[in-house]
Symmetry: C3
Subunit: 131 residues, 3 copies
């Protein structure tokens, strides 16, 4: 199992980790298989979406904020229930296919680490299985 | 493939199945690998979120009810379209990393079986792959 | 890695690909394992939900449209930010368990390819691991 570190700077932020993940896979020397990613935090998530226009990521954050506004009358006293809801909506795991030593991604796809209650220093675990 | 049983008691409920999953993995004697979970029901789901304050789970149920209210004018005659929508939003599969014979989870993370149209007796399938 | 093709005919559409996936798995001759699916597009997704009443799929599309309406004031100039948001909410990967040479699905479950900015010709990648 390999663990990457990600540092976020905003309360809600999507960070493109595609290059980090690609290099991690390349270093293992595995040509064909899968990579299983797990985020061990409850206000974070992982998603794959467009990398060309940064407005898409901003619209994704905006859309999620509309779905779970920060101050929408929750019970949990820490004031970050919206972040927990967003984490479950996007999910904390992601499985990637590996072909020719690299993650299989569409031309417009990047992998994003998502933090909804930052800024934070976060971890991302990766396990790679060969086929 | 191993199949666990889960009994729910409310219409919408999140049940912490972390111990059941941990014991299931331990019994296989597998030290390193992944565990793939699948919920074979269409009004259920699986998610990972905070285990410390039970208010977080209640806020998650509240947040999902706001996203897909029970009586929001759907076509499906059974009156549980909201539960099908919630199932797809959280998803019916989850992949866990296994290290030292146990699922890799953050200190605040628990695994929750989610039912949105209960009470029900439900199943959860688990397949474990060694690396 | 096997690649399937899917053609969509509406802007937003869920297409039942269960038979295609089942046949793909059967052709490999693998009896026990997992199948990892990946959609390489940023306005598409994959989900598993009910196959009995087609109204459920229509209600799922309706529910998602309420969560991320098409014209809700986004930044991205292409006018499909709602489709990117829906893609991240449902996710672009799905892991299936394989038992007796077939995907493990509940009696009411089908696998749906989801397109939210069609009509399009789309791809779906599948990697199968034997256990």
């Amino acid at each position: 199992m390999i663990t990457l570190e990600v540092t976020t700077r905003q309360r809600a932020e999507l960070i493109d980790i595609t290059d980090q993940v690609r290099q991690t896979i390349r270093k293992t020397g595995i040509d064909q298989g899968i990579a299983c990613l797990h985020v061990p935090h409850t206000t974070s998530a992982i998603t794959i979406n467009e990398n060309a226009d940064p407005d898409v990521v901003q619209d994704l954050l905006l859309g999620l904020e509309r779905l779970a506004p920060r101050d929408a009358g929750y019970r949990h006293a820490e004031g970050n229930s919206d972040a927990h809801i967003k984490s479950s909506l996007l999910g904390v795991d992601q499985t990637l296919l590996i072909e020719d030593g690299a993650p299989v991604l569409g031309i417009w796809q990047s992998i994003y680490f998502c933090e909804f209650d930052g800024p934070r220093r976060r971890k991302l675990h990766i396990r790679i299985l060969e086929t």
